[in-house]
């Protein structure tokens, strides 16, 4: 008897809590709820935006979940979400394979930085693109190799083996990093190429930004790459990199926005563009847009209005909130171009 009682009690309590939850939500009947999925990198700023937008438009709930860029694209194509988000633009193949037309809207800018841990070196290191590619390919094996030393006069580099750390999970961060390496190094392009997950010539794989950061912190004489936001928020040291105009630049919100601004002239109408190795003098070379993916045709009028309304808001007040969370805002020229593109949603 006691056992049956226990059974009933447990299921009862669990069910009650469940009903309380679903019941609580149903009271607001006139709510327009939209689901979105995709990139993990912009998730914090998106949740901030959607929360602020919900405050001023209480009838609209945007539920955004970071399941990965590839996942976001697939969910959008499968029709399980109302909008997607991605750190890399959809390919022509994906767009032509889609049942409905998909529009890209850049939201903020991301950047990837090389982070390292050399116990005997406290100075900030500078890297040439050739040095970065050589390290990642495994052709530059020691920290005191001439390719690294030349860019760092006065720094006493140790003669120890370099341990490369990379992302093990498929990631937009990896895409930006390898896209950059492919642009600056023909050897990298032919041996490894650019992608979310690639066949790494050397190194250890860590899962996620924290996996890479953890491994770099734990492993002496290691080098890895993480998102700029992650490096800033976690006080990690990261190096300068020589950009396309020949200047050694430190990654920061300004240099990232500068990269987008210098590429603005060549931005196509559908916004699908890579801005790594951008030409500007102050441009951080390993930068990228991140995009919201929105279907061109949204039959449900309430959802359509919610999305267009949000996009307008995001390009205005929304852009003011980016820097507090260490995201680089879009340059004005891109904002203007996007505002015109919103009208394409029907």
């Amino acid at each position: 008897m006691r056992t049956i009682l226990a059974c009933v009690l447990v299921t009862g309590v669990a069910l009650l809590s469940g009903c309380a939850g679903s019941g609580g939500g149903k009271t607001e009947s006139q709510v327009v709820a939209l689901n979105g999925a995709g990139a993990t990198f912009p998730a914090p700023i998106y949740s901030k935006w959607f929360d602020e937008y919900h405050k001023s438009h209480t009838g609209i709930q945007f539920n955004y979940q970071p399941i990965g860029s590839g996942g976001g694209i697939r969910q959008l194509l499968a029709g399980t979400v109302d909008f997607g988000a991605s750190d890399q633009p959809m390919t022509d193949e994906q767009l032509s394979g889609a049942h409905a037309k998909v529009l890209h809207f850049p939201t903020v800018l991301g950047a990837v930085v090389p982070t390292y841990n050399i116990p005997d070196v406290s100075q900030e290191l500078s890297f040439t693109p050739e040095a970065l590619a050589g390290i990642m390919l495994g052709t530059i094996k020691k920290w005191n190799a001439p390719e690294i030393a030349k860019a760092n006069p006065g720094v006493k580099l140790p003669a120890s083996e370099i341990v490369v750390v990379h992302r093990s999970d498929g990631s937009g961060t990896t895409f930006v990093w390898t896209d950059y390496l492919s642009k600056v190094s023909p050897a990298w392009k032919s041996k490894a190429g650019a992608g979310n997950s690639i066949n790494w010539p050397v190194g250890l794989g860590g899962k996620g930004n924290d996996g890479v950061a953890g491994l770099v912190k734990q492993t002496p004489n290691s080098i890895g790459y993480v998102e700029l936001v992650y490096a800033i928020q976690n006080n990690m040291n990261y190096g300068r990199v020589r950009n396309a105009s020949g200047a050694f630049v430190k990654a920061g919100l300004d240099s990232v926005t500068a990269a987008a601004a210098s590429a603005a002239a060549s931005i196509p109408a559908d916004f699908r563009v890579s801005i790594t190795n951008a030409p500007g003098a102050g441009a951080w070379p390993i930068s990228s847009f991140t995009w919201l993916l929105v279907p061109q045709n949204i039959p449900d009028a309430a959802k359509r209005q919610a999305i267009t309304g949000f996009l307008e808001w995001m390009l205005g007040p929304g852009q003011q909130m980016t820097q507090a969370l260490s995201y680089a805002p879009l340059p004005d020229s891109v904002v203007a171009q996007e505002k015109q593109a919103i009208a394409r949603i029907q």
Partner: protein
Amino acid sequence: MIRRKIVNAAMFALTGLCALLAVSVLFFILGYLIYHGGKSLSWSFLTHLPRPTGETGGGMANAIVGTGELLALTCLIGVPVGFMAGVYVSEFGGKTAAAAIRYAADLLNGVPSIVVGIFAYAVLVVPMRRFSALAGAASLSVLVIPITLRATEQFLRDVPNTLREGALALGAPKWRTVLTVVIPAAMRGIITGTILAIARVAGETAPLLFTSFNNSYWSRGLDQPTSSLPVMVFTYAISPYEDLHRQAWAAGLVLLTLMLVANVAVRAILSPGSAPRT
């Protein structure tokens, strides 16, 4: 004889050490979670909706309720299947059929949870064209079924056969014997096994990510995306912000505490004052 006594003492110490080693892991984990997550734990953490990073006062009330909802649904979908199948295997099935079912359950138990998630996504989420608590509970059920089956079978087998024979001799049909004599005798063990099974899947992230998804707000129904603690831990742990990391630890602590409380409570109800099953 002395040598044998020394061996006995040495083995006592050695095996005891192994047991202590295993238990110390639990305390290490608890201490670690309390150290990292304890500071973020507050009343509002348990009662409020999540807030974006940088804002204080956010909580995980929807995720706590969502996890309860998912587990309750799992109890409704998965546990009966595992239990009934366990009864079949132990009491009704022929030798070959029972072995086949047991084998199938073992195979199911070996499928990685992420593959189960992919499976539930393909057969439930895509056709329904929406993420839902139901799909999440279905994938958790697939994980729970083999464990429940095993527990049920194991404990039914441990029921002494004299009980069965006694009831049958009194002229009771087999189903009555099983229902009123055998199952009640094994109930305590079965419930313990089931609770352990539920506790085991309560921490699963991979099967939920593509099925029950997640929700920043209260869930709007069983056919809608639902928040859950493991997915919240996952989402917050991969973010770059220190305050979200601390909340992830706190959520992990809440999850573990809920499991511990459930375990303790069930045991307390099942065996007041007496030692369980010795």
